[in-house]
């Protein structure tokens, strides 16, 4: 029973609309090649869609333009009564913790500070959009989990500084795998893996926010929404141009498994020749893989699937040159059925890389390595692989001794080994002469 059932109803707009007397061209720039744009008519019909920009000839009328940059949406109604162009200046930005645009809310001084740290091989910047950042316990660990630098007191040979709304630190570290752990009172120590590539800078930008919806005072740097860039050392913001914004859009698209692919030109710019932004290449590699997985299930898309696979292979080859040893690149190599010499003892940065390794089983991750021990601690985050350090399996081999090489395929994950070890304290397992077993509580 409807509330206003008793009121007489007047029927309107029952006749189909008369054909529009004229058509006009509509050009919409979505603001980024990775942003999507949709044109919807008043009867909910999707009449045109595009990625990056869109050109369509449509009957005179009113249309809803919907922009999508990763997870961010924006809609606006337009009247098409002449040829019209809508520029992407007001299209939504992807979710970001980085100063990728003037609209991201950073002051120029704070953005300048972050930029000044970017010449170091590894730097961390924490920003509180609402005021000066409060004290945070942020630690950089080596590939085995040993602390090498932390806030609020980094080593003397590390740089530390800040601005109105930011604080940060950075240092000169060798290439390879690292971990970034955030300790917040009342919460678990959440950690993400990082990779430092030769001749590149890895910069992590974190936003300080309320981490526990139930407790207002639990404020800290939010790892899952981090912006992470790996860029060629010494490049200026002017040289990178739109690549950081593209990287953030690619990150957001990957978070939601949308197979939105950068243009060939952008992938080339990120990876070939100038190799300005390997992180964009890495994200693009995973997006290409998603695109390939979608296409290969469609028999009619045979050639297109083959082309995407070939492009993915080229991206993987370039990434391998720029980020040698990276487990993220290694996972992509395995995904395209190539062999890999990557360092799988350290976890990859991306959940999607981790999913590839998990799906392939234990063979590639060295037993009792740091990567092996996080299996029980991985959080449900995208695209960054975040894990709860306190839920990791404890190390079986003493510190200083190397974990079993990946060349000896592990037959038992560390978590299973530990479970058996714990069970053996409480139970006695006896193998009988006929091969059967009996279990008794000790």
């Amino acid at each position: 029973m409807l509330k206003f059932d008793s009121y007489p109803a007047k029927r309107l707009f029952m006749d189909p609309p008369e054909p529009a007397p004229a058509s006009f061209s509509l050009h919409v720039d979505a603001g980024s090649s990775l942003a999507e744009v949709f044109i919807i008519d008043p009867s909910f019909n999707l009449v045109a869609r595009g990625q990056g920009s869109l050109r369509a000839v449509l009957p005179k009328g009113e249309y809803l333009i919907k922009y999508r940059a990763g997870d961010n949406l924006k809609e606006e109604w337009v009247t098409l009564d002449a040829d019209k162009t809508f520029n992407g200046w007001d299209a939504p930005l992807p979710p970001t913790a980085a100063p990728i645009s003037e609209r991201a809310g950073w002051s120029s001084a704070d953005a300048g500070f972050a930029e000044s740290l970017r010449h170091l091989p590894l730097s961390i910047v924490i920003r509180n959009p609402k005021g000066p950042p409060s004290a945070s316990d942020v630690r950089v660990l080596d590939r085995d989990g040993n602390p090498i630098a932390s806030l609020p007191e980094p080593p003397t040979d590390w740089m530390k500084g800040g601005g109105c709304n930011v604080i940060g630190f950075g240092g000169n570290v060798a290439g390879g795998g690292y971990l970034l752990a955030v300790y917040t009172t009342g919460l678990r120590p959440y950690t993400i893996p990082l990779w430092v590539a030769p001749n590149c800078s890895t910069q992590v930008l974190l936003e300080q926010k309320q981490l526990d919806p139930r407790v207002k005072s639990r404020i800290g740097p939010h790892l899952a929404s981090a912006s992470i860039f790996i860029t060629k050392t010494g490049t200026t913001g002017d040289e990178l141009k739109r690549l950081p914004q593209l990287t953030e859009t690619a990150k957001s698209a990957l978070s939601y498994d949308r197979p939105i692919l950068p243009t060939q030109e952008e992938i080339d710019e990120a990876l070939d020749g100038k190799y300005l932004c390997p992180m964009l290449g890495l994200l693009a590699g995973h997006l290409l893989r998603l695109g390939y997985e979608e296409l290969k299930g469609k028999p009619e898309a045979g050639i297109a699937a083959f082309e995407v696979l070939e492009e993915l292979k080229t991206v993987v080859t370039n990434l391998n040159r720029l980020m040698p040893g990276s487990p993220d690149v290694g996972a992509l190599e395995l995904a395209v059925a190539q062999t890999s010499q990557a360092d799988f003892g350290v976890p990859p940065m991306l959940s999607h890389s981790w999913a590839i390794l998990e799906q392939l089983g234990s063979a590639f991750i060295p037993i009792d390595s740091y990567a092996d021990r996080i299996r029980t601690a991985v959080c449900a985050t995208r695209p960054w692989l975040v894990f709860n350090k306190s839920a990791m399996v404890t190390r079986m081999t003493p510190r200083g001794k190397k974990a079993v090489s990946r060349k000896t395929p592990s037959i038992m994950p560390a978590a299973l080994a530990q479970a058996i070890q714990q069970a053996s304290r409480e139970f006695l397992v006896k193998v009988n002469s006929d091969g059967s077993t009996s279990i008794k509580r000790k």
């Binding site: 029973m1 409807l2 509330k3 206003f4 009121y7 007489p8 109803a9 007047k10 029927r11 309107l12 707009f13 029952m14 609309p17 919807i40 008519d41 008043p42 009867s43 909910f44 019909n45 999707l46 005179k60 009328g61 009113e62 249309y63 809803l64 997870d71 949406l73 809609e75 109604w77 678990r188 959440y190 899952a224 978070s255 939601y256 498994d257 997985e293 979608e294 299930g297 469609k298 028999p299 959940s351 999913a355 590839i356 998990e358 799906q359 029980t376 601690a377 991985v378 959080c379 449900a380 985050t381 995208r382 975040v386 709860n388 839920a391």
Partner: protein, 188 residues
């Protein structure tokens, strides 16, 4: 046809038991048409709100409303593309533009398939003067000529085909009205 009216809040710090990569598709899977709908994008929550005094999932209600004829064309056919668009609009109308379901009608845009046969029903727009008690408001389907509503006449009920409409008040302010649900109250 699969409707998942459930939260997809996987994107948090809870321990993840692992997630499946894309499964291998059967060679004959191309012959199967699938209409699937999630209440939200990955990592977002599904919502329940009150419908005629009962709490219910918005996606389910949107689907049922469309299926029983509110998404039907003049011949009483609910096509996959129409239901897809209808569900999008209905969920966003009830929850706001930040909430967007994920609906896949399993076809190319120009290859719609009939899902249901149901007599066409028309969404009702109830215009109720609360602050603006006099004057002429204009009500139009987007892109079409407006009709007039005399606000002094009190509550008025309009039955219209589903779609985007605009209500322009005597002071010139305009608001979008989405006609999808059985009854939508617009207080002016």
């Amino acid at each position: 046809m699969i409707i998942f009216d459930a939260c997809r809040d996987a994107l948090n710090y809870a321990i993840d038991p692992g997630w499946a990569d894309k499964p291998a598709a059967s060679l004959r899977s191309g012959q199967v048409k699938v209409f699937s709908s999630f209440a939200s994008k990955a990592g977002k929550k599904a919502k329940e709100v009150e419908f005629n005094g009962r709490w219910a999932g918005v996606l389910t209600q949107a689907f049922l409303t469309g299926a029983k004829g509110y998404a039907a064309d003049a011949n009483g056919v609910v096509y996959s593309s129409a239901l897809r668009a209808f569900i999008f609009a209905a969920v966003k109308d009830r929850l706001g533009s930040d909430f967007e379901p994920e609906v896949d009608d399993g076809t190319d845009p120009n290859d719609s398939w009939a899902l249901f046969h149901a007599p066409r029903r028309l969404p009702r727009i109830v215009v109720k003067p609360v602050k603006q008690l006099t004057g002429l408001a204009k009500f139009r389907k987007r892109g079409e000529q407006p009709g007039e509503i005399d606000l002094a006449a009190g509550v008025q009920v309009l039955e219209v085909p589903y779609g985007y409409y605009a209500l322009t008040l005597p002071d010139g302010t305009e608001q979008t009205v989405i006609a999808v649900w059985e009854e939508k109250l617009v207080e002016v």
